[in-house]
């Protein structure tokens, strides 16, 4: 079991809703972004002197730009339906981690400055002035929300705490209070082209290494091409796929699928990142900037199709926002959806009989599948609602003999976050990451005990990194999390090696 200087929650056979214990996570804040990074995103370098007035103005500005914010701050009736739906509350007992508790941190200030009742009867409606303590609470608790939207499924008005926490982070950025992890990554993606800050030569080198591994593995010359003009498909994938474990096995899986189907493809060194962390900080302008890199790469490489690799929030941005941010993509082949998820891509090939699986090769594994939040609740695959649950499971069932789902209330639209989404995947937030993983760990443990599950497949770079780190805290193996396309790649029939 991994070492920790905090208490690791105990896995219960029947998950329980904990009693309210105020303040248990009040100490948990991410590192603050350095001035140079803040400024390069057009935010003030550090907390400005007139932060109070600026924050209130920024709130007013966002209220006019986002209907979600305006309607959600007004509409909550405090019915409490969401209070037991957030994995961070379930793992920490801190009431400010209940979705409505989190929203109220912003709502009580909104009421004070923007509503009649809050201006004249603040005590009555729980409105408060924006003080340094309140700002501090914002920084603390809006960085304990993974923007997973589980709460929005269960709220009678669909109030989405992710919208509120994005707005709060944007307000904080506007007054010079940004988180190091997110903002530094965004700068790297905007200047170098990916979150890792991997420049072109290093990327080409890494991919060359991968081709050798693939050759050793299969005896086949399977390519991982980069910057190939005139390829059919531009694959945009999270940069973690280039060398984190278990992501890299997923990337090799995609390469095998392209190879087996005989479809020409390429990565782009200019747009070598599917992730778009600007969503996490609620910044439309920055999100647009990042999305436009991908449009530009597609135009320059002259590809016909855009396919997105395994990444949850990236798929949300790609599926739901690319057309808005960087569209229209009318220069691509209209016979395919723009963009297409790699799972849709592989699924289509399999359905058409263009690729074949040998399931027995995965007989050593008993698999389950982790639905990623942003894929499950903020996007779709295929042409019917719910395709985002069906397609990955179809692929898993087609490529292995032993597949079981975790309990129904922890999958599909009710899926529990891995605990590391929404820009929290940083070591300075380890405690909240471990505790927030509790509900998923309980569900996984359940199928391990009942069904002998050995591995959990995922289609999100953040989920994979998070689980690899967090599983050991709960006494499970870090290698129990794998990429969906690793399973697919292992079962894929590739033809005879030319040796």
């Amino acid at each position: 079991m991994a070492k920790a200087d905090f208490e690791i929650p105990e896995l219960k056979e029947f998950p329980e809703v904990p009693p309210v214990v105020p303040g248990t996570m009040a100490h948990s804040q991410p590192f603050i972004a350095k001035p140079e990074f803040q400024e390069s995103l057009n935010f003030p370098g550090e907390l400005v002197d007139d932060w109070h007035d600026k924050a209130i103005d920024a709130m007013g500005d966002l209220l006019g730009k986002y209907r979600s914010l305006q309607v959600y701050l007004d509409s909550c009736v405090k019915c409490g339906a969401c209070t037991d739906k957030c994995h961070y509350y379930l793992g920490t007992s801190d009431p400010k981690n209940m979705p409505v508790g989190r929203q109220d941190l912003l709502r009580k200030v909104y009421r004070r400055y923007y509503t009649f009742a809050g201006k004249y009867f603040p005590k009555l409606v729980g409105a408060v002035d924006l003080t340094k303590e309140v700002l501090d609470d914002w920084y603390t608790y809006y960085h304990q929300c993974s923007q997973c939207r589980r709460c929005s499924v269960f709220c009678p008005y669909g109030i989405d705490t992710a919208e509120i926490s994005m707005a709060a982070r944007e307000i904080m950025d506007t007054v010079g209070l940004g988180s190091k992890y997110n903002n530094e990554i965004i700068v790297k993606a905007q200047t170098i082209g990916n979150n890792l800050g991997l420049p072109e030569p290093a990327l080409v080198d890494t991919l060359g290494g991968l081709e050798e591994d693939l050759l050793d593995d299969t005896g086949l010359e399977i390519k991982v091409p980069v910057d190939v003009h005139g390829a059919d498909v531009l694959l945009v994938t999270p940069s973690a796929d280039f060398f984190a474990e278990p992501h890299i096995d997923g990337l090799m899986g995609y390469a095998k699928v392209f190879h087996a189907a005989g479809i020409s493809w390429t990565l782009s060194s200019y747009a070598s990142e599917a992730a778009n962390f600007s969503m996490f900080i609620g910044s439309y302008a920055n999100m647009k900037k990042q999305a436009e890199r991908i449009r530009k790469a597609a135009l320059e490489l002259g590809v016909k199709r855009l396919v997105v690799g395994e990444c949850g929030h990236a798929w949300r941005v790609a599926y739901s926002f690319w057309n808005t941010l960087a569209g229209p993509f009318d220069f691509l082949d209209p016979n395919y959806p723009v963009p297409q998820h790699i799972v849709e891509f592989t699924h289509q090939l399999h359905t058409a009989g263009a690729i074949k699986f040998d399931k027995e090769r995965n007989d050593g594994k008993v698999l389950t599948f982790h639905d990623s939040c942003n894929v499950s609740r903020a996007s779709r695959m295929g042409d019917k609602p719910g395709g985002q649950y069906r397609l990955p499971r179809d692929l898993l069932r087609a490529s292995c003999n032993n597949f079981v789902d975790m309990p129904r209330e922890t999958i599909f639209e009710s899926t529990y976050c891995c605990g590391g989404g929404g820009g929290l995947l940083t070591d300075d937030l380890m405690e909240v990451r471990v505790k927030g993983a509790l509900p998923r760990m309980e569900a996984l443990n359940h199928v391990i005990q009942e069904n002998g599950v050995t591995h959990m497949a995922a289609i999100c770079a953040i989920c994979k990194t998070q689980f690899a780190k967090v599983l050991p805290y709960y006494g499970m193996g870090m290698d129990q999390i794998i990429s969906l396309h690793q399973v697919v790649g292992d079962a894929l029939v590739l033809g005879t090696p030319n040796q």
Binding site: Q70, G80, T83, M98, F116, Y157, Y284, Y319, S320, K384
Partner: protein
């Protein structure tokens, strides 16, 4: 005209004005504020017709709440449905239209008992607010007072219906003359204590409606996670302020 009558006439005009103007301004604010990005909570309908159906299920059955917590759903749904039935029965104080009166008169004997359902629903919701620690934590004084207000309206109404009757013909005549602005033949409002309290609290409810969480009633229709069609790949969706960022 008695002092009470004049005072209530003024009060109801003021309350109606505040309610109508306040709500209209709020709704127009929601209407005008753009939703720049597609954010339906998926799985979401892929057609406009599907969205209408989803909204219908939310408003009529409280579908999401049902998935969420059965007790809150039960009390909340019973309260709202009883409330709507009670309000429907109240139409008889405001309309002369025969067709409406016929329906109202037909359902009235049955619907009047729904006052109890409404009260029980409210008590259940209040119990949850008082005894479930999570819900207690998120409650401001106004959340308790809102339930108290509705309870008192319900109880004072039920007392009038079942215990200390009032002259409903006179009540109707009073409201009809308010509605038609015919002050010359305005009768005196009965001064039985329960109906006076009932009407006073109803006016309070009307006044606070557009400045309180009761805005959830129009709000639900404007919620982007519930009212958007899931078709971002097929149709480009862009807000005016965002269009300005395009070069």
């Amino acid at each position: 005209m008695s002092f009470l009558t004049v005072a209530f006439a003024a009060l109801f005009y003021a309350a109606t004005l505040l309610l109508v103007v306040g709500l209209a301004r709020r709704i127009s604010l929601y209407w005008r504020t753009p939703a720049p990005l597609k954010i339906p909570t998926t799985p979401a309908p892929v057609t406009q017709g599907g969205v209408v159906l989803r909204m219908f299920r939310e408003v009529v059955f409280f579908e999401s709440l049902f998935k969420s917590t059965k007790w809150t759903w039960l009390f909340g749904w019973v309260f709202h449905m009883a409330l709507f039935a009670v309000l429907f029965r109240h139409l008889r104080y405001f309309t002369e239209a025969e067709s409406i009166m016929a329906v109202v008169t037909f359902v009235s004997p049955l619907f009047k008992y729904l006052a109890f359902a409404m009260i029980i629903g409210l008590l259940g919701l209040w119990g949850r607010r008082l005894f479930v620690d999570r819900v207690r934590y998120i409650s401001a004084p106004s959340d308790h007072l809102m339930l108290l207000l509705l309870l008192l309206i319900g109880i004072s109404g039920a007392m009038t219906t079942f215990v200390a009757h009032t002259d409903v013909v006179m009540v109707k005549a009073f409201f009809r003359s308010l509605m038609t602005f015919s002050f010359s033949d305005m009768p005196n409002l009965p001064n039985d204590p329960f109906i006076v309290v009932h009407l006073l609290l109803v006016a309070v409810l009307m006044i606070i409606f557009p400045i309180s969480k009761l805005l959830h009633a129009p709000g639900v229709f404007f919620s982007p996670t519930r009212n958007q069609v899931d078709n971002p790949r097929e149709q480009r969706h862009i807000a005016d302020w965002a269009r300005k960022l395009e070069q």
